[in-house]
């Protein structure tokens, strides 16, 4: 590899690798605000520690007004409100930020089935991805609860327009307007906090994170809402809410919404121990109880962004029971966490099903999830692992096939028949696979080793074997006369063209070519990978069309070969097992993605598109097969065909008289046979000739026994073909031979 490649690679990886985490440049003013924010957090934390269920929220940002206050027209968020009773709390809109209808609905969802029997229980570990549909509840209309960012943070970003808006801007995240759509819930139990284990397997209440992603059918409106909350293992109930600079729900607000005092105390204790580890980690240095909070400017600006751009949400939901005993559930959880081969049939582990709703106080939206269902996260990972392992098998098969094919096409004449672009398309696919695997290995920690092995293998396949092959193809075809389809079809014999050729291009050696090809390859690979990654974020219709076009184009890899066969007039390029094997290896993933309904990539079912791809490949292979049987240009009309040199001409007597190069060593035998010695094997060749031009030589097969070069030398077909695999040069007089 030369210097330019190295520089190119360095630049390439500089773009790919993530840089340092960017911290916004802080002005003094911002630092001051950060300190204010820290003390604000600390104050809220103290408020949480001292709170009890029967007391009101107190001076908690986002919870200063109750719903009744808003109905009464009180929009002034000050503390304490004149005349407000802070020493009581009831589950109604006089005290709560939720309207009574929502509180009733929450009670209804949570009371769905309250009896825990021995046979059916709730899952303990509910880390999973669930899918389902949502319905926007348009029947009820609620009053918007004004939530305002604390005054000292207003102009944090020196951007007065963004911070104090009077109305909800239409593009606010979470402001759902489509009536129906799909929802993805990404539930995860917080397992570690500041590198310490949290939420032990058997605890009865768990702190969870839930990311709610909604989108309408055509994906014009996509929302992603991050919430934090609690899962009550013994009742299967979940409550979560968003958090931002204007809505400090985790500091006591959310706990009040858990409807009764027992839940309040449980959630309060969990929250305190969590926050102590996560944010107030340094308070155990007893002397300095006051300010050290693990918060930086990033955290603050994220919180401000959230409060500006998001609707706040509170969600209530309930997990359905599964028919397993508590013991079975804990066995399953332990096996999934650290597998030792317990006799558990993973296929029989039931799915997690959830129903519930979410409500936004500040956007006044209520959304129902009638049924959201999904598989436990660990099971999903196991399935992904299986798919990746199968992919490794396919990659290995492809590497073996390619290596064998390369060793077959190692001679100039065999490699000259192979199409550059066929291998190019394959290497593009494999190279981008390597990139995707590499990115995947950074995302999926649990699948790191199989993914990194796949990335390695596909990278080896693309950038070493295939590029290597490309380089040798390029080198062998570089000095080729630029033969386009047009000139090929004009019908000039190849001999004539040789004389017209004026400037043979300067010969390039392999190292020069490899530089060029590596650069081109990595450049197009980079562009292609970025395009692919970008396309994930496109709207649905555009994305699916793009996917179809790209897949169709990438599965046309035999087409350049058929074209090259036509141009070169040769029909033996790749071995048949290579064509069949490669097609199969590359078709299996497409089959899996498009036809297997429960595939791990959650791709939709589309049999017809798979059939299109399948038929298209079959068509290309059939073309290659027909070219093998009927000649490379069988589909073109005869008169278009150029005269490639015919190694099996019909000889006539006049040819013989013209001294057809067979002058010496000629032993004429009777009735139209001439015996010549083949210069390669020194055995006699029986050449048949016609008495006159009209006379037909007896058999087609017999004619194939010998070959006559343009320089009029006669050889056995086997001998000359074997020779021509290595050199396109006449063994006797060293004049160039046209490829067979």
């Amino acid at each position: 590899m030369n210097r330019y490649n190295l520089i190119f690679l360095i630049i390439f990886f500089t773009f790919l690798l993530p840089g340092l985490p960017s911290t916004p440049i802080a002005s003094d003013d911002q630092n001051q605000k950060l300190n204010l924010f820290k003390s604000h957090l600390h104050q809220s934390f103290e408020l949480l520690q001292n709170s009890s269920f029967n007391h009101n929220y107190g001076n908690l940002t986002g919870f200063k007004l109750s719903y009744q206050d808003v109905l009464d027209g009180d929009l002034n968020q000050t503390y304490p409100l004149p005349g407000k009773d802070y020493n009581q709390y009831r589950n109604n809109q006089r005290y709560s930020i939720l309207p009574d209808e929502i509180t009733d609905l929450a009670q209804k969802v949570w009371d769905l089935d309250d009896v825990t029997t021995k046979e059916s229980n709730y899952f303990t570990n509910i880390t999973s991805k669930l899918k389902g549909g949502y319905i926007l509840n348009e029947n009820k209309s609620f009053e918007k609860l004004p939530l305002e960012i604390p005054g000292y943070l207003l102009d944090f970003k020196n951007d007065p327009i963004g911070s104090n808006y009077p109305e909800v801007p239409p593009n606010k995240i979470g402001n759902i307007t489509h009536k129906y759509g799909s929802v993805n819930l990404d539930l995860s139990i917080v397992e570690k906090s500041n590198n310490e284990y949290f939420n032990s397997l058997d605890s009865q209440i768990k702190l969870i994170k839930m990311v709610i992603e909604t989108s309408d059918e055509l994906e014009y409106e996509k929302n992603s809402i991050e919430t934090v909350g609690f899962y009550f293992v013994d009742s299967g109930n979940i409550i979560t809410s968003t958090n931002s600079a204007k809505f400090f729900s985790i500091y006591g607000g959310l706990q009040h919404l858990t409807l009764n005092e027992k839940n309040f105390e449980l959630t309060k204790n969990v929250t305190i121990s969590y926050l102590q580890r996560e944010l107030f980690g340094r308070t155990d240095r007893d002397s300095d109880d006051d300010g050290e909070i693990d918060v930086d400017l990033n955290f603050l600006s994220r919180n401000i962004d959230k409060s500006e751009e998001h609707c706040e949400y509170i969600s209530f939901s309930h997990i359905n029971k599964v028919n397993l005993t508590k013991n079975e559930i804990s066995e399953i959880d332990q096996e999934l966490r650290s597998p030792i081969g317990r006799p558990i049939d993973f296929n029989k582990i039931p799915n997690i099903q959830l129903q519930g709703f979410m409500y936004s106080p500040d956007c006044a939206i209520e959304i129902d999830f009638p049924s959201v269902i999904g598989m436990k996260h660990e099971l999903q990972m196991f399935r992904l692992n299986k798919a990746v392992i199968a992919g490794i098998g396919l990659l290995l098969v492809q590497i073996l096939l390619l290596v064998r094919q390369m060793s077959y096409s190692s001679t100039p004449s065999t490699i000259a028949r192979i199409s550059f672009y066929t291998i190019w398309i394959m290497s593009l696919v494999d190279g981008s696979l390597a990139m995707l695997y590499l990115i995947g290995s950074a995302i999926f920690n649990k699948l790191y080793s199989p993914l990194i092995v796949s990335a390695f293998l596909s990278f080896i396949l693309a950038s070493i074997f295939e590029i290597r092959f490309l380089i040798s193809i390029y080198v062998s075809q570089y000095n080729e006369r630029t033969l386009t389809l047009f000139t090929a079809l004009q019908g000039r014999p190849t001999d004539e063209e040789q004389t017209q050729q004026t400037n043979p291009p300067p010969a390039q050696d392999e190292s020069q070519v490899s530089g060029v090809i590596y650069t081109r390859f990595f450049f197009s690979l980079m562009i292609f990978t970025f395009l692919l990654l970008n396309s994930v974020m496109w709207p649905k219709t555009l994305r699916s069309n793009f996917e179809k076009i790209i897949l169709f184009a990438l599965n046309s890899y035999w087409l350049p070969q058929a074209y090259r066969n036509t141009i070169k007039g040769s029909h033996r390029s790749f071995k048949w097992w290579f064509i069949g094997g490669t097609t199969l290896v590359r078709l299996v993933p497409i089959f899996y993605i498009f036809v297997v309904k429960s595939n791990v990539f959650e791709h939709h079912y589309d049999l017809s598109f798979f059939m299109v791809i399948f038929c298209w490949l079959i068509l290309q292979i059939t073309l290659l097969i027909f070219q093998g049987i009927f000649g490379a240009r069988f589909f073109l009309p005869k008169k278009w065909l150029p005269k490639t040199y015919d190694y099996h001409p019909i000889l006539s007597e006049s040819d013989l008289e013209n001294g057809f190069g067979i002058g010496e060593g000629i032993r004429e035998t009777n009735n139209g046979h001439v015996s010549v010695d083949c210069a390669i094997c020194m055995e006699p060749v029986e050449v048949q000739f016609a008495k006159s031009n009209l006379d037909q030589v007896t058999g087609f097969g017999q004619k194939k026994q010998w070959m006559i070069t343009p320089c009029h030398h006669v050889f056995h077909t086997d001998c000359l073909e074997r020779h021509m695999r290595y050199k396109l040069q006449c063994p006797i007089c060293r004049s160039a031979l046209p490829p067979p």
Binding site: G341, N385, I392, V403, M406, Y408, S410, F465
Partner: protein
Amino acid sequence: MSTLSTGFSNVPISRYLTYLTVLIPLIASLTSFKYIFYLSYSPFIDEFGQYWRLLTSQLGFINESEVLISVILLYQFRALERLYSSHKYLSILIVLFLYNLLFVSIIMVLNVCIPGVSWVLGTFPSGPFGLIVSLFVIYKNFIPVTYNFEIYSNKTTKIILNDQFVIYLLIFHLCASQGWSSIRNGIYGHTIGWLVFNDILPGRNWRVPLYRYLNRKIDPNSFNNEVHTPSFENPESTGDANFEADDDDDPAETRPLARQFLDTFRG
């Protein structure tokens, strides 16, 4: 240490054994099926009844260091294969493996029958510890010491070591690697090796049937072309006559796969 040529030339059984020693743990770890190598009385036998673990726990190591040490040992043991012939070596391997399996099973039966014993005898290491130690017993009885050497610390004390001391050291290291359970398995293996070597347990003279037939199928070059005429046209062919003698006019067709791999890089 020995006069054998480097590499695994002409020791196919050692070669395949080494491949397996490396590949089985590698594949198991890649497919996250490492747990099939675990074996202990509780909970696998008494609760789950997974008797297949008796076999699988003998197949693969789970730690890299054990794999590394056993590969080094198997490489040294190839002297035994040269001495024994591949056929006899394979036979004794199978015999020792089966005896080790039997021994572990007997220990497991003890666990089932006698209630209190499982906290002493109930755990088993993952990997063929017993087999390697048994092989080592055969090795040290057959392969003679080539030389001794002395290390003086001062004028009065000296340590006498021989060329095999590294192997003793490695065996010790291997057995100690999983603590009590692997030491115990090493002792089982040593006992079995000793019993088999002294013909107290039968099986030393048993041979794998149909070996010639199998061998020809696996490796057609090894038997028929015993007597090679090294090709003199090619001066590069020094050690491995096996390769170069096969070079007919179409080298592409007969190159082994590993060579094709390498040739791709050589260009």
